[in-house]
């Protein structure tokens, strides 16, 4: 539905895997930041005169 590959991530992280959690968060943040903002679903207020 118009969302780029690489914007959506899935991962299994156990509550005991703190290191993996940090890695995943960093990877996801970097990947999404590289793609830039996605404003398709941002609702713009109608312009009122």
């Amino acid at each position: 539905m118009g969302i780029e590959p690489g914007r959506l991530h899935f991962s299994w992280v156990s509550s005991a895997e703190a290191t993996k959690f940090i890695e995943v968060v960093n990877e996801v943040t970097e990947a999404v930041r590289a793609l830039g903002p996605h404003d398709n679903f941002v609702k713009h207020m109608p312009k009122v005169a």
Binding site: E4, F41, V42
Partner: protein
């Protein structure tokens, strides 16, 4: 398929007379051509109203939700699959139902036929795979094959999958059908093109929710679009709100949708929202080998965990 009517009436009358069921849910002639409407026959004399032709596209499983009576229900292939889904989801009990199976040869697309004529259509009749359409000043004979509803043209489950009585002999299923050509075309688009495609597809939507109301899967007491605390989605016809509604509704139908076409048929502006539900239907088939409503003995894929579920997308 026109000959089915007598048999349907005969079975319904017998069931009502014997008291096996409290009512029979079927179809009666609508007030306009090609607009048959649901009919609840509660007395043996009511069965005269029941009818069957190629305009019975409404999914009658929609009228079974949470019913307490004993019901006879007319079911074509897709209806029967939705009845199975209803039973699996505890919306009705199997022993409450007498399913009168109707082997289906497809429903006709009233929008397509209407668009072929400039004046109002006064009557539509059927004979031997032909559809005879009469307007005030003309009469035209169409091949039924060419005016089938889009979902019927690619249907591979025309026979009811579950039934107690049959209104006619089973029909031959369509083989070698490419069900998903249109979906593959959209899948191949770039994210931007996809967005524009859906933008265009849904731009005519007036948020009347006819698709949701016609859908047998949409039986939530309060739909997420009607909730106001919390308000999940805006209630306006803003394109973002409209897309959110359609995308989410489609997801709610994942692994449950039988592609009966009730949503598209009910839409007053002719939006093909089946594009969305069909993509999820395709995914369910390709990932889990699942087709909704074929058996009472298996749980739907989103309802059950299997160690070998595909998980390539999980990193």
């Amino acid at each position: 398929m026109v000959g089915y009517t007598d048999k349907i009436r005969e079975i319904s009358e017998r069931l009502l007379k014997e008291g096996t069921v409290d009512m029979v849910i079927g179809f009666r002639q609508g007030s306009m051509p090609m607009m048959n409407e649901p009919c609840f026959a509660k007395r043996p004399e009511d069965v005269e109203k029941l009818t069957w032709d190629s305009n019975c596209g409404i999914n009658l499983a929609n009228y079974l939700t949470d019913r307490k009576e004993k019901i006879g229900v007319i079911a074509k292939g897709c209806d029967s699959r939705n009845i199975v889904t209803h039973i699996i989801e505890n919306k009705i009990k199997r022993d409450q139902l007498v399913i009168i199976g109707v082997p289906c040869k497809g429903m006709i697309d009233r929008r397509k036929i209407t668009s072929m004529f400039e004046t109002e259509i006064l009557s539509v009749a059927e004979e031997d795979g032909k559809v005879i359409v009469k307007t005030g000043d003309a009469e035209k004979i169409l091949e039924k094959e060419e005016v089938l509803q889009k979902n019927c043209a690619v249907c591979i489950h025309r026979n009811p999958v579950i039934y107690d009585e049959l209104a006619a002999d089973l029909v031959e299923e369509q083989k070698d059908i490419d069900r998903y050509a249109d979906i593959r075309e959209i899948e191949a688009m770039s994210p931007e093109d996809k967005w524009n495609y859906f933008d265009d597809l849904l731009s005519a939507c007036v948020r009347c929710y006819a698709c949701r109301n016609a859908c047998p899967l949409c039986y939530c007491p309060t739909c997420f679009v009607d909730e106001s605390q919390p308000q999940w989605v805006g209630k306006t016809t803003d394109p973002i709100d409209t897309k959110t509604f359609h995308f989410l509704r489609a997801y709610h139908c994942a692994g449950r949708c039988t592609d009966c076409g009730a949503c598209e048929r009910a839409c007053p502006v002719g939006i093909n929202m089946r594009t969305l539900t069909k993509k999820l239907e395709k995914d369910c088939f390709e990932y889990y080998g699942w087709e909704a409503g074929l058996t009472l003995d298996a749980r739907p894929p989103l309802d059950a965990y299997k160690p070998d579920d595909p998980e390539d997308f999980i990193k």
